[in-house]
């Protein structure tokens, strides 16, 4: 079994009094698409930036392509490609100029022309960076990440702030890279993204990994139960819902009652009966097929998009 291309052991990082990363460990094998899924402020970006050599950890160790980012930062940068969050290029730099400029920084490089074509930016080759749309800027960022034909790609929230259609374009690009057997570490707070794109996912909350596995494994671990979310006219006791026939688990999250069940029809019937008997009323009811959101709710009692 070859050494994993990314190795993170008990990583710790704080900013002043804020513990951004408390204890994060995971490893990624070559050719894998690995996702860090978690709400904003969970420590995903900090973890990735430590791996990229942009920040120094306060504890634990990381290895990327067999290198320690603290010691071999310069060499490491030739091996990785990244699209960062909160970054930009000078407004008056043209698309092709940006690609050429950055290509020039690397020992191993790919043809900027080819990347321009592949990322659908041919028509924009002479456009100033400042005049690109959000989606075009992101496509350029991904193209730039590939300039040095990197061994590992880091995509930090690659679709944040993009509208759904553009987001799907980015998904297609990442799926293509996945088919090319590129190793990718991506962060996201979109469940759909993690489920669709990642071979394995680490769910991160408050600087800790709370669950790790393939999306399917994680969902199965939560029992593969359907989630029913109901809003009621009057508050009820969790315990009462918990005891209903067909309901495996019930909890209240922000005024919504979240029930998990393996037998949805049975659970709904018993719920309605219970409410009638209680003189309570159903305001709304939504049914969700099992997703990573359920794993998160189960582990933290909160929603991912808090």
């Amino acid at each position: 079994m070859p050494e994993p291309i990314l190795q993170v052991n008990n990583l710790v990082k704080h900013y002043g009094d804020v513990q951004a990363v408390r204890d994060v460990s995971f490893s990624v094998d070559e050719g894998e698409v690995f996702g860090l899924l978690g709400p904003n402020g969970a420590g995903k970006t900090t973890t990735v930036e430590i791996l990229e050599g942009l920040r120094n950890p306060d504890g634990g160790s990381v290895r990327v392509c067999g290198l320690d980012p603290r010691v071999n930062s310069r060499e490491l940068k030739h091996e990785i490609g990244a699209s960062l969050q909160a970054t930009a290029l000078p407004d008056k730099l043209r698309v092709m100029e940006a690609l050429r400029l950055f290509a020039g920084f690397y020992k191993r490089r790919r043809d900027p022309e080819e990347l321009l074509k592949r990322f659908g930016l041919e028509e924009k080759r002479n456009t100033y960076y400042g005049q690109l749309s959000g989606g075009q800027k992101q496509r350029l960022a991904l193209a730039m990440a590939l300039l040095n034909d990197p061994r590992v790609l880091f995509f930090d929230e690659p679709t944040a702030g993009l509208d759904p259609q553009v987001r799907r374009e980015i998904y297609d690009i990442i799926e293509e890279l996945r088919c090319d057997k590129k190793t990718i570490l991506m962060t996201t707070h979109y469940i759909e993204e993690a489920e669709r794109l990642c071979d394995r996912v680490a769910i991160v909350d408050h600087g800790k990994v709370i669950a790790l596995g393939s999306p399917r494994e994680l969902k199965e671990r939560s029992g593969g139960k359907t989630r029913i979310e109901v809003k009621l006219a009057r508050p009820v006791n969790n315990g009462a819902l918990q005891g209903l026939e067909g309901v495996a688990d019930a909890r209240e999250v922000d005024g919504t009652y979240v029930l998990h069940t393996q037998r949805p029809p049975q659970a709904i019937v018993s719920l309605v009966k219970h409410l009638e008997a209680d003189g309570n009323e159903l305001v709304s009811l939504e049914i969700f097929t099992p997703s990573l959101e359920d794993v998160f709710i189960e582990m933290t009692g909160r929603r991912l998009r808090d």
């Binding site: 050599g53 942009l54 960062l84 909160a86 970054t87 930009a88 008056k92 920084f105």
Partner: protein, 315 residues
């Protein structure tokens, strides 16, 4: 080396696409030049010659505004982060800033010297080697000052405040705008602690008296040392990330860059060399006795020679 060259190229390219650049680096310096040469000096060649050194020093010093603002903007917008994740070093980034600024400033200064000679018939531009060295060391040292400003400020607002705080004494107390000899004695003494004073005096002496590089060793060496010190410091304090804190030792280290001119200021205050030179330069165009070349030409723009410099201020 390769990274440095391509970054320099990018900076020059970006400057030409920036409207602010045209205003501050091209339009404004030429406006200053013509204001002094045509209005204040009334086109009199000797007087233009006297003001030429200060005007060039003024433009050379202006470098630090643009450099600090660009670097802070690059950091604030997350542009530096993008370079950081590529194999680009802080020295690549800083050295390319300095060299791009040099490439952009030198032609402007050259044109001003040319205009002074061709349009205003300044009798002599002095020793060309000394002139070139002083201009070069001036552009580099004040550029490095801009890099230091960028390293101790986090937002554009802070940068502009600090620039303003530095700029005003540099231009008003050094002889760059008002002749040093014309300023009150106490201000003159204070001026001897400012790097700007040495640049102004060095250029003025070179142009008026064709001073050799050797005779200007104090000016050249002090500015060169200062350039080295500020550049080294800005590399130490360089921050890629917008939210990275300014290290506590930064302010102390920045204060240390003042050391060369603190020492030089004490020495020059004792010897009075600079002040005497500035005074004789000032008298050379205000008094016909000390400026025999111009005595035969009663140019309309020349102020009456009363021997009292304060009455002769033309502003």
């Amino acid at each position: 080396m390769n990274n440095f060259a391509s970054l320099t190229r990018m900076r020059v390219q970006l400057a030409f696409r920036n409207r602010m650049f045209f205003f501050f680096v091209i339009a404004f310096p030429f406006a200053m030049f013509f204001l002094y040469a045509a209005v204040f000096a009334k086109g009199v060649p000797q007087t233009v010659g006297f003001y030429l050194g200060p005007v060039i020093a003024f433009n050379v010093m202006g470098s630090f505004w643009g450099l600090s603002a660009t670097l802070v903007m690059f950091r604030e917008q997350g542009i530096l982060r993008r370079f950081h994740v590529a194999p680009v070093t802080s020295s690549d980034m800083l050295a390319s800033s300095i060299v791009a600024n040099y490439i952009l400033t030198l032609p402007i200064v050259f044109l001003q010297l040319l205009f002074a000679r061709v349009i205003f018939h300044v009798p002599s531009l002095g020793n060309p080697i000394s002139l070139f060295i002083l201009i070069s060391v001036g552009i580099v040292s004040f550029g490095s000052l801009g890099l230091v400003v960028a390293s101790v400020t986090s937002t554009m607002q802070e940068t502009q405040v600090l620039n303003q705080l530095l700029w005003l004494p540099l231009i008003f107390l050094s002889g760059a705008t008002f002749p040093l000899a014309y300023l009150p004695r106490l201000v003159q003494r204070f001026g001897l602690f400012l790097p700007a004073t040495y640049l102004v005096n060095g250029l003025q002496q070179t142009i008026l008296n064709s001073a050799t590089p050797w005779s200007r060793y104090a000016e050249i060496l002090s500015l060169a040392c200062w350039a080295g010190l500020t550049f080294f410091l800005s590399a130490q304090l360089f921050r890629w990330e917008p939210e990275a804190a300014i290290p506590r030792r930064a302010k102390l280290l920045v204060a240390a860059t003042a050391i060369p001119f603190l020492i030089l200021g004490v020495v020059e205050n004792r010897s009075d060399r600079i002040l005497l030179e500035a005074r004789s330069a000032f008298l050379s165009f205000t008094s016909p006795v000390s400026a025999p070349k111009s005595s035969g030409v009663d140019a309309p723009g020349r102020p009456p020679a009363t021997g009292n410099p304060s009455k002769n201020d033309e502003k």
